[in-house]
């Protein structure tokens, strides 16, 4: 009850109406790639869960793309993906493994950035 004003949490409305009673801190990144594992939905999954699983049945998309295609806020896409990964319905792969190393402070490696640089240069139309 002593929480200061500036510490108020900002929560997406979805969490008020969602299935779980508490906010799940997402361990997924917006660029985590997700693909359906083939395990069928359970009776407790919602129609939104079903739409997510159907969307990534034919291939992989990132969490942020899933949110975009389904017209959901990114935070909602992350929560849904988190639930479905923990239920085994989606497989997840991390975006840039080396950027997650603590020494990198979340930055891509120099090698990866050099690959980006030469890739961008080769895309230029003469």
């Amino acid at each position: 009850m002593s929480r200061d004003k500036h510490q108020r949490r900002l929560l997406p409305p979805y969490l008020a109406t969602g299935t779980s009673g508490a906010a799940l801190p997402s361990t997924l990144d917006t660029l985590t790639a997700l693909r359906a594992s083939g395990i069928p939905l359970a009776s407790y999954h919602t129609s939104v869960h079903r739409r997510v699983v159907e969307l990534v049945t034919g291939g992989s998309l990132t969490a942020v793309e899933i949110a975009g295609y389904l017209a959901l806020p990114v935070s909602v896409g992350l929560v849904l993906a988190e639930q479905l990964v923990s239920d085994g319905l989606l497989n997840a792969s991390v975006p840039v493994p080396d950027a997650l190393a603590p020494s990198r402070a979340g930055r891509p490696s120099r090698q990866l950035m050099e690959e980006v640089l030469s890739g961008l240069q080769s895309l230029r139309v003469a």
Partner: protein
């Protein structure tokens, strides 16, 4: 923007490359109307996607989630546009996140900035001061950035050195002009940014 738009059929998804690849995020930041969406549309190889992140001020001093979502709660909406660019060879996929980057969206901004290669800040010479806030946010996060002056037909003539001094840029921060409607021009802006990110990593990183 309707609060509850009728569900339109989703466009057919463009899936990621099947093989191993890494996904890298680049922010395209700047105030409303500066050309972020145009630049992302120019660069993206997929139809650009849009999300509205809705944030609700949760009731202070309570953990009772049943209180959240009441009709009179204050909500704010922040629009994020994004596009995708697969580099030749399918080993790297770039994601371009367009974000207004206002301080009031700080909780969202933290997540967006994490892991990014850097930020391309678009500015309009007619209203340079509107870019200060997002530049401050980026600098506070130690994210390398480049500034691109998006050229508009009715922009006044400007001298890049004057723009540099008005924006108070560090000497090594790239400042370029860019036509967000042109692919090569937009690619050049990303190239400047990436080169700058590489040299910043060389200085600071172990």
């Amino acid at each position: 923007m309707d609060s509850n738009p009728s569900v339109s059929p989703s466009p057919r998804p463009v899936y990621l490359p099947e093989g191993d690849h890494q996904r890298v995020k680049i922010l395209v930041a700047g105030p409303l109307g500066v050309g972020k969406t145009t630049a992302i549309k120019t660069l993206s190889q997929i139809p650009t996607l849009h999300t509205d992140e809705v944030m609700t001020d949760a009731a202070a001093g309570t953990d009772d989630l049943s209180l959240i979502g009441l009709r009179d709660k204050k909500t704010t909406t922040v629009a994020i546009d994004f596009g995708r660019l697969t580099l030749p060879g399918d080993r790297v996929v770039l994601y371009l996140y367009g974000t207004p980057g206002q301080r009031r969206f700080l909780p969202l901004w933290e997540g967006i900035a994490f892991g990014a290669l850097g930020a391309l800040v678009l500015v309009d010479t007619r209203r340079l001061d509107e870019s200060f806030e997002v530049m401050d946010l980026i600098e506070e996060r130690g994210l390398p950035y480049a500034v691109a002056v998006n050229t508009f037909p009715d922009s006044p003539d400007y001298d890049l050195e004057i723009v540099r001094s008005k924006l108070d840029l560090a000497p090594d921060t790239p400042l370029i002009t860019c036509d967000a409607r042109e692919l090569n021009s937009s690619l050049n802006a990303l190239i400047e940014l990436t080169a700058h990110s590489i040299s910043s990593a060389g200085v600071g990183a172990s």
